[in-house]
């Protein structure tokens, strides 16, 4: 592995011996025990691993939601661990799109407004309507979240995440609450964004089959990276068998 202090422009994230300890009273949980990884630009990455293996912890740290106990995280040339609170906010605002298992839409804004909320503060967004159309929800733009199904809400969340044209898209079990058919629609949307905008996309899932559509599959186990598998020929989401 080339050690150039993260100066390689083709690497979006690089972590070096990343650890995270949770201290709860007497006990210490080591959620991450030295994760060293590189995630190249434009890759579609899937994180797999048993429950509790540290996947979400890793994603939260590289997304700037949490800080590591030790080790380094680089986003391109910058060391994230050096960022101030304010810089982290700007980092999330301009570079990262998050998608979670729960959709977390603002209930008092319509679907379109939920997207616009983000494009309002982004540097170079696409129009909110274009984002809605990218997830095939152009006709539901004026609905409030309470008027949308779970899958539709998740697609609004994707539209909201991609509308600012982030460099990275971080998804923690985006299809976890969805049936297979809706799941495929969501995955298709993610893949399209990855291909069209070249957005580095990291998806956490429990569905090993989804790994077939990734360029790179990273296996987590007990707070460590167990294996990294490169996929020469990712298959389209439709062909995934759930």
């Amino acid at each position: 592995m080339a050690r150039n202090n993260g100066l390689d422009d083709n690497i979006t994230f690089r972590t070096d011996r990343l650890t995270k300890d949770y201290v709860t009273g007497e006990t210490i949980v080591q959620a991450l025990r030295g994760v060293t990884l590189e995630i190249p630009r434009g890759d579609m990455v899937v994180l797999l691993g048993p429950s509790g293996s540290g996947k979400s912890t890793f994603l939260n740290i590289i997304g700037g939601l949490d800080s590591p106990s030790s080790g380094e995280v680089y986003f391109k040339k910058d060391r994230l661990s050096d960022y101030s609170e304010q810089q982290l906010t700007l980092f999330r605002r301009h570079n990262v799109g998050f998608i979670f298992q729960s959709y977390n839409l603002v209930p008092s804004l319509t679907a379109l407004e939920n997207v616009a909320l983000v494009t309002d503060i982004a540097l170079d967004p696409i129009s909110p309507m274009a984002a809605m159309e990218a997830v095939n929800l152009g006709n539901r733009a004026r609905h409030f979240p309470s008027q949308l199904s779970g899958g539709e809400q998740q697609r609004v969340a994707i539209a909201r995440a991609i509308a600012k044209r982030p460099e990275v898209l971080l998804c923690d079990e985006p299809t976890g609450a969805l049936d297979s058919e809706t799941g495929i629609v969501v995955l298709k949307a993610l893949q399209r964004v990855n291909k069209e905008f070249g957005t580095t996309t990291i998806i956490i899932t429990h569905n090993a089959a989804i790994a077939d559509m990734a360029d790179r599959v990273i296996f987590f186990g007990d707070g460590q990276v167990i294996n990294v598998k490169l996929n020469e020929n990712p298959c389209p989401p439709e062909e995934i068998s759930w």
Binding site: S56, R92, V106, S108, A116, L117, V118, D120, I121, F144
Partner: protein
């Protein structure tokens, strides 16, 4: 099952711990409500009880009369009046008291005590020393108030001018009398224990000193159970008329009693009004807050139902939470009430002279206050639980289920493009829950109105003083003569050191009647265009004294049910007691007292006398105060002297001792309540929307933007609450003024702009402080935890 209940109890404790800030705020609001309630009613009850016991044990009389001079023998005649059970006759004599080291003269009242037996009526409570021996000369008993004011102890001597002779008398006992619970010098406006004292002396010694052997000039009567006061008064007047008897009066018009009663009435209004409002507001707030608190637990209630808890079990679970609040609020409230009540009582002992005055409160009052707040808290909780329990468990449990929103009116009008997305969120939240927004608005508005109400008291009292002393009674000194004197006396006064101008006064005690309404009062005969002792018309502008007829103060006109132009009957309580018919020519305004005014010459003519005066108003050069006071002290003809500046100070002191302390307390409580309400509203908003705010933070919104969402709504509510608070505050002040309209004084509804301003500032500062506290919570929102979907 037991295990699960235990788990539920543990949840209760953790929930309580998590919302400790809010719970504390509710406890505080509740405690404030209960405290004022217990304190005020306790003080009222204590005063009433002490008075009742005192009057009873020391045989306070029922009917009183003063007269010129009558032989002791007519006592039997009075005893024969049906309904009379005891009679005591006395000699009461006004004296000048000279105290070393005091420049201005003090006045006193010397009262005879029967030799060799206890008085039948108006007995004395001996605080220290001993009672008088039969025929003991050279010894007196002194009222405790006067002795305390001068630091006199047993064995000290006081100089008095009795009937023109100066005597040095030894204080052998210090006493209290039910007749002087509140002691006021004749013609004085406020009690001044330094300048007025009451003393008791052997009857035979006093009779000899003032040439009243075998005679009396003061009589007190006690009636038996079936007695009729009106009859006794009438009969007594008939018996005493040949002896220069003045109109007899019942206990309710006895000076000390009247003042105490007035204070009790005032306290009843003040002590009821403010606490009732506080308790009401507190109960209302507890209700609102508990409702919202339980509503935030909707998901958990759904879960508990889903796993098989009955509605009853769930209700009981949340009621325990309320119980903790109610118990804590009650304990703090009761302890605070007793503590402050005892403090208030201490203040009262300074100007109400009871042998013993102790704070006691009735259990009923306490139970009522606690019960009232508890009911409010419990119903609030039950309503919220009812709402949550109505939902099918599945629906209540779906946390991800977004609350329903719709386009607001503003948007349907096409105005949305003018609002940012954040502002739209704020507006939609307000519109989605209009009732809740309204309740929060009302709660904050009400807490603000009690602030205004509290401040208003101070404003009005200040205004009242200003009118009384800067506009009406502008003299520096008022003096009163022992007997009416020729107008030429005025010239002598003018020549005294430092006197810059003098105005004459002819005052006469009268009994005013119109139809079956009547009132004892004083007619003040003054110059037509007075410069010092002025009268004010109903717009508070100095008015001329009508050339013909009477000018009645508006309260007196109200009591007599007369208006301008009516003719009333005036019985002069002097000498031959002529009865006149006089037209009411003018109604004038007076905040303190109950007087009638008349042109002096006209009064002299009506009384068939030459131009005589009974007193004078002086404007003096303060540089000459010392020599002037000395001079006045040396003139036996001057019975009383009131220094207006001192009177004003005493009144202010008196006010700041009781009402203003109460006011200060109300202000503190009202501020606490405002803060409690606002803090709670902000906290609940945060707990309801913490997840939404966290996900916005994940999206890259700054803390400032997130704070705008949270506080924007609150800010709108506070802005709406301000005018409501200002308006209801005014209404409360107005209501109080109506109730405080007593014979002693009237409270004008005066609310300074600064009061409104200060109330707004307190609310805004409370809001800022709440926002700051909640803001710290926003800062601590854990972005990761929030994403896990845990509320």
């Amino acid at each position: 099952m037991l295990m699960i209940i235990e788990a539920l109890n543990r949840k209760l404790l953790r929930d309580l711990w998590n919302i400790k800030g809010q719970m504390l705020a509710i406890v505080m609001v509740m405690a404030c409500g209960i405290t004022t309630f217990i304190m005020s009613f306790g003080v009222l009850d204590s005063l009433k009880l002490s008075r009742a016991v005192y009057y009873d044990r020391y045989q306070f009389a029922d009917v009183f009369a003063q007269l010129k001079r009558a032989p002791v023998a007519i006592r039997q005649q009075v005893l024969d009046i049906p309904g009379v059970s005891a009679v005591e006759t006395r000699v009461v004599f006004g004296v000048t008291v000279q105290v070393d080291g005091m420049t201005e003269p003090a006045s006193g009242k010397l009262i005879s005590l029967p030799d060799g037996r206890k008085p039948l009526l108006n007995n004395l409570y001996l605080r220290s020393g001993r009672m008088l021996l039969p025929d003991e000369a050279g010894a007196i008993l002194s009222s405790e108030a006067f002795a305390n004011a001068h630091g006199f102890t047993l064995g000290d001597r006081v100089s008095m001018v009795i009937n023109g002779h100066k005597r040095s008398l030894e204080i052998v006992g210090i006493v209290l009398s039910p007749e002087y619970v509140y002691s006021l010098a004749p013609g004085g406006m406020f009690p001044d224990d330094k300048r007025f004292g009451v003393f008791w002396m052997s009857q035979r010694v006093l009779e000899a000193a003032v040439d009243m052997d075998g005679a009396f000039n003061d009589i007190a009567v006690r009636m038996d159970r079936g007695g009729n006061v009106e009859n006794i008064k009438e009969e007594l007047d008939i018996v005493l008329k040949p002896y220069g008897g003045l109109i007899a009066y019942a206990r309710k018009n006895q000076m000390s009693h009247w003042f105490v009663q007035n204070e009790l009435n005032q306290l009843r209004v003040m002590g009821f009004f403010a606490p009732a409002i506080f308790l009401g507001v507190a109960a209302f707030l507890i209700n609102v807050v508990m409702t919202r608190q339980v509503a935030t637990q909707r998901v958990q209630i759904g879960m508990l139902k889903a796993v098989g808890y009955s509605n009853l079990e769930i209700a009981l679970h949340y009621l325990k939470m309320v119980l903790v609040v109610v118990v804590m609020g009650s304990i703090f409230g009761i302890v605070g009430g007793i503590w402050l009540g005892a403090g208030m009582i201490n203040i009262y002992t300074e100007f109400f002279h009871f042998p013993i005055l102790q704070f006691s409160f009735s259990v009923e009052v306490m139970i009522f206050a606690v019960f009232f707040c508890s009911i409010a808290a419990v119903t609030g909780t039950l309503v919220a639980i009812g709402q949550a329990a109505k939902l099918p468990p599945a629906e209540a449990m779906r946390p991800a289920n977004p609350i329903q929103f719709r386009r607001t009116l503003l948007e349907r009008m096409g105005l949305e493009k003018y609002f940012s997305h954040l502002t739209r969120i704020v507006i939609r939240h307000l519109e989605r829950r209009p009732v809740r927004a309204l309740f929060s608005t009302l709660a904050i508005g009400l807490s603000m109105s009690i602030l205004i109400f509290a401040f208003f008291m101070e404003d009005s009292i200040n205004y009242m003083l200003e009118v009384q002393f800067d506009m009406a009674q502008r003299q520096d000194i008022s003096i009163g003569f022992v007997e009416p004197r020729a107008i030429s006396t005025l010239e002598e006064i003018r020549l005294m050191p430092g006197v810059m101008s003098v105005e004459p006064l002819r005052s006469v005690a009268v009994f005013l009647k119109s139809g079956h309404y009547s009132k004892r009062s004083t007619i003040m005969g003054i110059r037509p265009k007075p410069d010092l002792n002025r009268i004010l018309d109903q717009n508070l502008v100095a008015a001329e004294v009508p050339a013909r007829g009477l000018a009645l103060s508006s309260k007196l006109a109200e009591i007599l049910h007369v208006k301008k132009g009516d003719v009333i009957t005036v019985e002069i309580l002097e000498d031959r007691r002529p009865v006149l018919r006089i037209r009411v020519a003018e109604i004038v305004e007076e905040f303190i007292g109950l007087s009638a005014f008349m042109d002096m010459d006209q009064l002299n003519r009506a009384l068939n006398e030459s131009t005589v005066i009974t007193g004078a108003s002086l404007m003096v050069d303060p540089l000459w105060n010392g020599p002037l006071y000395q001079k006045i002290k040396e003139i036996p003809a001057i019975a009383s002297m009131t220094i207006m500046q001192k009177a004003r100070e005493i009144f202010k002191d008196m006010m700041s001792e009781n009402i203003l302390k109460l006011v200060a307390m109300n202000i503190i409580f009202a501020s606490l309540i405002s803060f409690g309400v606002i803090y709670n509203t902000a906290r609940i908003a945060l707990s309801e929307r913490g997840r939404e705010l966290a996900s916005l933070r994940v999206l890259g919104l700054t803390k400032g933007e997130v704070a705008y969402l949270l506080f924007g709504e609150m800010a709108v509510i506070i802005l709406m609450a301000i005018p409501i608070g200002l308006f209801t505050g005014y209404l409360m002040a107005y209501g109080l003024a109506q109730h405080m309209d007593t014979e002693l004084f009237r409270i004008p509804v005066v609310i300074e702009k600064s009061t409104y301003g200060l109330s707004v500032i307190i609310v805004v500062v409370s809001a800022a402080l709440s926002f700051y506290l909640v803001w710290r919570q926003v800062e601590n929102i854990d972005l990761v935890t929030a994403q896990k979907g845990i509320e």
